[in-house]
Symmetry: C2
Subunit: 684 residues, 2 copies
């Protein structure tokens, strides 16, 4: 049994309390330092899985490079092989000393809380001045941060003068190439994922979702365990749900009393539109507050490396001077405009074609119902809607795979550019696919009853399907797998599994593919709630109910269905905010138009249709203008955080100035003295 392995099991048993754990670690260290070196407190943080057929030379070289000191071009991490391996791969565990992690935290520009309560970029030399820092404590950095540091250090491990991975001539290297990325693309690196921590996970899930209680989510704990991107998603989900509450409450009387007066609907729609604007603006403030406290608001943007899949002829990056693949921009543009754009158009055409089939079926079902008038036929009349909703979801999923493939084929250099193109492709299609039939019913058929029925069918079906596909199905598969493992190993609880088996189990779990699908789901929901809000006020209630269960099922998914994901320090929800804002603008138009075509309003203006249209257009422009003014008037960052940031900036500026004045004064005087001496000599 390896010493580090023993350490981990002790730690796991030592249990609940972090302080206990740290103290036990300390005691152990001091006690055992008599016979062993400092390395024994190795705590595995990240799992690295290499292909079985990896050459021994490659492994030796790779582990050597990982262990090497930073100034010798290594990553200065610790790596240990797992001994008892059954599968067809080689598993390694990665860790680092706490000092190495602190240095890494500085290199990545992590921001931590300072003694005076402000957030500052961490520096190793002033480590003692940060709050919560105490001696050789691991807890100063959250586990998510430690794992993120290891991941980034691995990615920054670059080839020096190697031309290939030893023993694998097909895996070419050149100076400056990230080794881990080459191993990934050449298929030698199978998996790289952070380890779960049983105790922490248990603690988190018990306060998060394991018992039903009315409380806000433990966002700070989620941030500590999963990192900022996941925590921000759950914060947004929670915030959005709470923001829907007023809409839902106001919607109730409309449903109960079956209010159909259009003056009431106008009030509802106007309230809805202004509310949605304010909600998004206030979210920016809330998000700034969260990301300030989590340290990402002040984190400097890192220099973006080419994404792993990017390929092309080797050239020089004009900014970094490093060798890297280059790909001419015009070729990418050609691919986008000649292939991707036509593909998106074709997909939209197909989606609209399917919609027309649905309307045909809808007609058939209605005719059949009118003829037969049976119990069966009255159920049958709902079938086309539900069937169409299922088809929409299926098409969305198929399209997304195609979009991912296409965007990857477009060969974008940066991950951010890839993401933007992917999000744009998916959003445009999803918008049309989900809402085209509603637009058709609303503005071509002008059948408000059918619109309401269809909206309800689409909303409910898509919510049920999503919950099932995203959480219930994976959870069931996971349960099944655990049962199989239990049977195989003849045990009753997986809690007491030895570490090696636990790691093997985590390795077999699915990979969490990011928050894209989760945000997309919320985006669709926002569309259902806001686009036609004035004909179906109940939508908000359904959305609230869905989101409450969504919190639980997403939490379950994160904690026990998927592999733990690496944290990503982000300061906001990025492109999704723009997507939500765009939806808000479109919903102003649709709601105004809906009110304009409503029979009640039309009756009011029956003598002069043009006046009505002009009035509606004027109202729409006024609402849009109001939206923009509101967005401008509400500051994106709360004033207390702005003051804190300004204070820090001012202090560092002042410190810099003082240093500058001193240096410049000194060198100025020295130079002037020299000159005078020179003049004096000349005089003589």
């Amino acid at each position: 049994m390896d010493n580090w392995y023993w350490d981990l099991s002790v730690v796991n048993r030592a249990g609940q309390d972090r302080t206990v754990r740290r103290e036990s670690g300390m005691k152990m260290k001091r006690h055992s330092s008599v016979s062993e070196d400092i390395e024994f407190i190795f705590t595995p943080l990240v799992v690295l899985e290499l292909a079985k057929d990896t050459n021994d030379k490659a492994i030796e070289w790779f582990t050597q490079r990982i262990k090497e000191k930073k100034h010798l071009g290594g990553a200065h991490l610790k790596i240990k092989p797992m001994d008892d391996q059954a599968g067809n791969s080689q598993v390694y565990l990665l860790g680092a000393s706490w000092r190495r992690l602190l240095v890494g935290a500085e290199a990545l520009g992590l921001v931590k809380e300072y003694q005076d309560g402000s957030m500052r970029a961490f520096t190793y030399q002033n480590k003692e001045d940060y709050k919560y820092f105490s001696g050789d404590s691991y807890d100063f950095l959250t586990m998510a941060e430690r794992q993120y540091i290891i991941k980034r250090e691995l990615e920054n491990l670059r080839a020096i003068d190697e031309t290939m991975v030893p023993g694998h001539p097909q895996a070419k290297l050149y100076p400056g190439k990230s080794i881990i990325r080459r191993l990934q693309t050449s298929g030698l690196l199978l998996q790289l994922y952070p380890l779960h921590n049983k105790i922490e996970l248990e603690k988190l899930s018990s306060i998060w979702y394991k018992r039903f209680h009315v409380a806000l989510q433990p966002l700070n704990d989620i941030d500590k365990y999963f990192g900022q991107n996941i925590a921000l998603y759950f914060a947004f989900l929670e915030y959005f749900t709470i923001a829907l509450f007023p809409m839902a409450l106001i919607g109730v009387p409309y449903y109960i009393f079956a209010w159909e007066d259009y003056d009431k609907y106008i009030i509802f729609a106007t309230f809805n539109l202004l509310w949605s604007t304010i909600v998004l603006e206030v979210w920016k403030r809330w998000c700034a507050k969260l990301s300030y406290n989590w340290g990402t608001l002040l984190m400097k943007r890192k220099f973006e490396e080419p994404r792993p899949g990017f390929h092309g002829q080797l050239g020089l990056n004009p900014a970094t001077g490093r060798k890297e693949p280059t790909y001419p921009n015009y070729k990418r543009q050609l691919r986008i405009y000649l292939i991707s754009v036509p593909f998106v158009c074709l997909s939209i055409y197909i989606s609209i074609f399917v919609m027309m089939i649905y309307f045909l079926m809808e007609d058939l079902a209605r005719v059949y119902n009118n003829e037969v008038q049976s119990h069966f036929s009255s159920i049958l009349i709902f079938c086309p809607s539900i069937f169409y909703a299922v088809v929409i979801e299926v098409m969305n999923r198929i399209y997304k795979y195609a979009a991912e493939w296409l965007t990857s084929w477009e060969n974008h250099r940066l991950e951010s550019s890839y993401q933007n193109h992917l999000v744009l492709k998916v959003l445009v299609f999803n918008f049309i696919n989900c809402f085209a039939s509603l637009f058709y019913i609303a503005f071509v058929l002008q059948d408000m009853k059918l619109l309401r029925q269809n909206l309800a069918a689409l909303l409910i079906t898509s919510q049920i399907l999503n919950q099932f596909m995203e959480s219930v199905l994976p959870y069931w598969l996971q349960k099944h797998r655990i049962r199989r493992i239990k049977k195989k190993l003849h045990i009753t609880s997986i809690e007491k599994l030895p570490l090696a088996d636990q790691i093997q189990m985590q390795g077999e779990m699915g990979q969490y593919l990011g928050t894209f699908d989760d945000y997309l789901e919320l985006f669709q929901q926002f569309g259902f709630v806001s686009l036609f809000s004035c004909v179906y006020p109940l939508a908000a209630i359904l959305a609230v109910l869905n989101n409450i269960t969504e919190v639980y099922s997403d939490a379950l998914k994160m904690c026990s269905v998927f592999q733990r994901p690496f944290s990503e320090p982000v300061a906001d929800i990025g492109v999704w905010l723009i997507a939500f804002e765009t939806m808000g603008i479109i919903s102003v138009m649709t709601n105004c138009a809906l009110i304009g075509i409503s029979p009640q309003i039309k009756d009011l203006f029956h003598t002069n249709g043009i006046e009505l249209v002009l009035l509606i257009v004027a109202i729409e422009h006024a609402l849009l203008a109001l939206k923009f003014i509101l967005a401008l008037a509400i500051s994106d960052i709360p004033s207390d955080i702005r003051t804190k940031v300004a204070k820090m900036e001012f202090e560092s500026l002042e410190a810099f100035k003082r240093k500058q004045i001193k240096e410049a004064d000194e060198s100025m005087e020295m130079e002037e003295q020299l000159e005078k001496t020179w003049e004096g000599k000349k005089k003589i």
Copy 2:
């Protein structure tokens, strides 16, 4: 005669060539260092005028503080009194050694061209690595930069433990209060302005405006002499004029062939709208290019001090920890919403009332013309338009004074906030005051002929009035004054005036109050050109002609009518870009509406008015969407500048990282070594 004074007159005589000037300075210095100290090459840069009744103690204290070294809390500048003074004030000349100026350049974060052609923040210690730097040369910093440095150093001269200006108990001071600002607010400091340089000015004006020639303006020279804010205004004026060329060219055939077909006007309007969007987007790129080369794009935003007029109870600034006046925000909001907003509304009401009077007069004139049909009456018919145009300009000017007073009374803490409120107030009123009558004619009266006539009258009258008020009148007054001075001193040319008289003359010149009015004029012009472009294509030609003379008259104004202004490092035209973009959006709406109400289009759709309105609205939305997409698609900063900036950022990041790795590695190893020793001791 003072030695410094003699030096300047030598320099002035030495004449045209900078090199000559520097060499003569060098020779003189070396030659005369035998008998005199290093200070004799004092070149006056800035003039400071104190009130005649300033206490001698105050003057002594103030000059002492100005001369004091930086680390002793002074400004470390040079100050000399002017001897032969006639007026009722005391005039001082300020300068600084070239070393002091270089240190100041570093402190302000000025950005200069590096050896490798990139732009970098200047540092005194690496001064030799910057392009164009040579020995003790003054020319490395432009004169505008040198004067800006002196101004900023003066503003940053702060009270240490003084409680008042000596001898002036009413001028209270507290630690950290800017001395110069207190002198300003207590009326002791009458003027502070940079000196003109006869030779440079002569050179600049000869290539800029003194001879008529077809060429672009010498923007880099303007930047060097007047600084970035003035240079950017002239760059924008030039760019905007050139951008209007295509519009003007296309407008010509419409005027010549009297095209009235609305299909042609639709083409013209659509082209106009897209053109205006692209023009503003391309301006951002051009502006980024200019401000990169002038060093302001990369300049860090400085910490904003409270504006001079800001007053309130003494409190602590939470960000800087310095004492400064504080004023509760709610009081400011009350002033804004209870006084300023009603005032703006009242002004708008009056403006509209005046407009109604104009329409009454217009009617009367027409009726009279129809009755009398004389030569006189046909001239009379143009009078109301012209008279109204004059009244509009007068109201604009009166309103602006009121707005300035009100905004100042609102007591904004920051200059930027003051400017934003002022610009908003002025723009809203100006927009309604200038264009309300046009909107009324276009959409209420729907009289296209009257609209065209009115548009022409307003545009031409406002342009003539502006040129007269802004340039011709001040120039004439200045000429008059110079003639008076010549008579008084019995000389024929002011070129040969002694320095003291030159300075006195500059002191009597008016103060240039910033680019506000100039941008406002362009903004109005943009409105006239774009809002109703489809009924009066000739507007663009008139605007082009006006702008060509505007360049000349503005240049004249800058060079010989007003005091030289301090330069201000700005990277863009700020809030004006937003104003122009908003105007662009509004003009999409007006042009679409104009096309919609045109008789020809109405005839096409005479059976179905609603369809026409819906079509127009759809086109408007599509055009607005296209505008946004274009604005997103065109990158604001050209890619070559982005690469340069990225390269610099990457290099400084890498340098920082290398330093960090080295330091951290060292201290880590040291700490580990220590720990091992400690463990070893324990073992023993």
